[in-house]
């Protein structure tokens, strides 16, 4: 199977910021991403859980972006502007992808 090198960016961010993040990604030319639900977590602002929550305020989501290496900096800049004042975690991993033409 032929694969090529890419970056996997994972951004864990508050739900109310989700659309701002994905809009910023789109503007930065990143149109491929996937949003995963988050059940709960813990960080400097304490533990929380999604159970029973009605409001989006308490929740977070994980946005996963797989991109070619050369687009990484643009993506991180865009993401950083959104998460800057907010809680949330951004991590980047090296990965291999199938079907390179898609990225």
């Amino acid at each position: 199977m032929e694969t090529s090198t890419a970056k996997r960016v994972e951004i864990i961010i508050e739900s109310p910021m989700e659309s701002r993040l994905t809009d910023a990604l789109s503007e930065a030319g990143v149109t491929g991403y996937t949003v995963l639900p988050v059940l709960g977590g813990s960080g400097r602002s304490g533990r929380w859980s999604r159970e029973g929550q009605v409001s989006r305020a308490g929740g977070m989501v994980a946005v996963i972006c797989i991109i070619r290496e050369e687009l990484l900096d643009g993506l991180l800049d865009a993401a950083f502007k959104v998460v800057q004042r907010h809680i949330g975690v951004v991590s980047v991993t090296d990965c291999q992808v199938l079907r390179t033409e898609r990225f």
Binding site: P16, G46, E51, G52, G58, G59, R85
Partner: protein, 325 residues
């Protein structure tokens, strides 16, 4: 005094309150009892749908009049003004920084729809009529407080970011506001005939659904209190009890000026006394991310909500029947 005690006692022993208490107790005991997020959201959709629709039907029944418009305006003003009052109180009573204080203040200008619903059901069981348009007033009071909070937070500061345009749309078109107003309008359009069609969905099971919802609120409030008790300094707790009283006094004054019925007076008091835990927290996460959510969520959901539910509502009812109407 006698009435208020007996009212409070009746209220405290209603299934609604007891299920809230069950939720609180279960979470204090660290039971794993929980309502799935999707189910909790479905319950809240049901409540907004039912309460909005019934309000609209009631207005279509009684017609629109000046009183509706004036009360709506009064509600908007209360929502704008109460955060300023709350901010002042917070400065006196607590050591919160400006941003946290502004965020908390915003919650108290806005409203809690479940507190409103609980008040309505107390009125119902007492056989006290009320203005159907109070639901519209409730919807109107959700958002203005957010403006005041942002103004309080950024006043006198170089507003580096400028408030984004998207934020306003988000606040005004918040899901709960849209559903409440939309259902209200549909109830208004379809009237009693429409209600007859869906009555056995939105009227008869309403109280039972409310019990389940309050069980969930108790669980969430209890979990918040358990994990965030440390942020609740005594001054803050005191604020959480005094601010609703202050708010209700403003509501009472407005209601007397407006000449509302005792039922309407009590509801306007309850709205003024209650603190948001859905619309405002979401707006604050976006607009004032530096404010600590544990503070405003715990205060609103863990202190003020139970206070209003248990003692506040009977108190406001007593005052409304004494001075209002």
């Amino acid at each position: 005094m006698d009435t208020i005690l007996s009212l409070a006692a009746t209220n405290l022993l209603s299934p609604i309150i007891l299920f809230f208490v069950l939720g609180l107790v279960a979470s204090f005991l660290r039971s794993d009892l929980s309502v799935p997020e999707a189910a909790a959201k479905a319950l809240s959709i049901y409540l907004l749908f039912a309460i909005g629709y019934k309000g609209g039907v009631s207005v279509s029944d009684h017609g629109i009049d000046a009183s509706l418009v004036l009360t709506l305006i009064a509600g908007l003003l209360l929502s704008f003004v109460l955060p300023l009052v709350a901010f002042g109180l917070l400065n006196v009573m607590t050591g919160l920084g400006r941003t946290d204080a502004a965020a908390v203040a915003g919650h108290y200008g806005s409203i809690s729809i479940v507190t409103f619903v609980a008040a309505t059901s107390v009125l119902q069981s007492q056989g006290i009529a009320t203005e159907g348009y109070m639901v519209a007033v409730a919807a109107g009071m959700e958002a203005p407080a957010i403006l005041s909070a942002l103004w309080l937070a950024t006043r006198g500061q170089a507003q580096e970011q400028g408030t984004e345009s998207g934020l306003w749309r988000e606040i005004l078109l918040n899901g709960s506001i849209v559903l409440l107003i939309g259902s209200f309008l549909i109830g208004f359009i379809t009237g009693p005939k429409g209600l007859a069609d869906i009555e056995s969905f939105i009227v008869s099971p309403f109280k039972g659904v409310l019990c389940l919802f309050l069980l969930d609120m108790g669980l969430v409030a209890g979990r918040g209190l358990r994990t965030s008790a440390s942020v609740l300094r005594p001054g803050l707790v005191l604020f959480g009890v005094i601010m609703p009283l202050v708010g209700s006094a403003f509501g009472l004054a407005a209601a007397v000026l407006l000449g509302l019925s005792p039922g309407g007076t009590m509801l306007l008091m309850t709205l003024s006394a209650s603190a948001s835990y859905i619309a405002v927290p979401a707006a604050m996460r976006v607009a004032l991310p530096e404010a600590n959510p544990s503070i405003y969520l715990t205060l609103s959901l863990g202190i003020t909500f139970p206070f209003n539910l248990t003692l506040g509502i009977p108190l406001y009812l007593t005052m409304a029947t004494a001075w209002g109407g």
